[in-house]
Amino acid sequence: MLTALKQLGSPPRFFDVSGPAARMLAWAALALAVPGLWLALVGTPTDEQQGEVYRVLYIHVPTAWMSMFLYLVATGYAVLFWVWRSPVSAVMMRALLPTGAWMTVVALVSGAVWGKPTWGTYWVWDARLTSELMLLFIYLGLMALANLVEDESKTDRALALFTVVGGVNIPLIYFSVVFWNTLHQGMSIGAPGAARMAPEMKAALFICTFAVWFACAAIVLVRGRWLLVMREARSRWVKELPTRT
C-alpha cells in the first residue's frame, strides 16, 4: 500500500495513471447519474411529511458530504506534502479546492431553497449552516492563497499549513448537529437513533452520492494532472509527453 502510494507520488507515474482513471470515473459517474436522477426525481415515493420538496435532498446531501470529504482529502494531501514534499501532493491539494468550493455552494443553495418551503426561511444562523458557510470561506481563502504568486510552488508550504488548520472546521460541521441544538435535522444515516429512511430512498441517495463522488474524483484528477504538467514544464518527462499521451 505504502509502496503503491509512493509510486503514485512520482509525477510521470501519476500522469500516466490519472488520465485513464479520470476517464473511467467519468463514465462511472454518468452510468450512475442516469438512474440516480430518475430515482431522485421520479422513481422514489413522495415523502409523507415533506411532500415533493424532499427530492432536493438527493442533490443536497451528496454535495454537502462531498464538500467535507474533498476538504478532508485536501488535508491528507497537505500532510503528505509536509512529509514527502512531493509535487503530486502539492498539485492535488490545489486541484481539490475549486471542486470542494463548488460543492459547498451547491449544498448551501440547495439547502436554502429546501429550507424556505420546509422551515419557512432560506437561512438561519444555525451551527450546521454557519459552519458550512465558513467552509466556503475557507475554500475561497485557500484558493486565493494558492493563486497569490505566479510561481505556485512558493505558496505550497503556507497552503499546506492553512489547509491543515482549516481542517478543524470539518468535525465541527459534521458534529454540529450533535454538539448544538440546531434547526438542521440530526444525522439520518449511520448514527445510533438516526431517523429511518425507506430502503428505496436510501438506495437512491447512495446512487446519487456515488455519481457525485465519481464525477468530482474525475474532475479533480484532470485538474491535478494538468497542474502537474504546468509545474513540471521543465522536466524531462514532460518534454517526452508526446510519446506518453
Binding site: 467519468a26 436522477l37 431522485a40 426525481l41 411532500g51 415533493e52 420538496v53 427530492r55 432536493v56 442533490i59 443536497h60 454535495t63 486541484a95 475549486p98 471542486t99 463548488w102 460543492m103 455552494v105 451547491v106 443553495v109 440547495s110 431553497v113 429546501w114 424556505k116 418551503p117 457525485v212 464525477a215 468530482c216 474525475a218 474532475i219 479533480v220 484532470v222 485538474r223 494538468w226 497542474l227 504538467v229 504546468m230 514544464a233 521543465r234 514532460v238 518534454k239 509527453l241
Partner: protein, 43 residues
C-alpha cells in the same frame, strides 16, 4: 418558493456546476501545453 422551483434550482445548479468545473479543469490542458511550449527552447 414552490417544491418544483426548489427542485429545479437545486438540480440545474448541481449539474451546471459539475459541467462548468469539468470544463475549467479540461481547459487547463491547453494552458499546460502552452507552458510546456514556452519552456521548450527553440531548436
Amino acid at each position: 418558493m414552490t417544491a418544483t422551483l426548489a427542485i429545479a434550482i437545486s438540480y440545474s445548479l448541481g449539474l451546471a456546476v459539475l459541467g462548468i468545473d469539468a470544463l475549467l479543469a479540461q481547459r487547463l490542458r491547453g494552458a499546460a501545453l502552452a507552458r510546456v511550449l514556452e519552456e521548450t527552447p527553440d531548436p
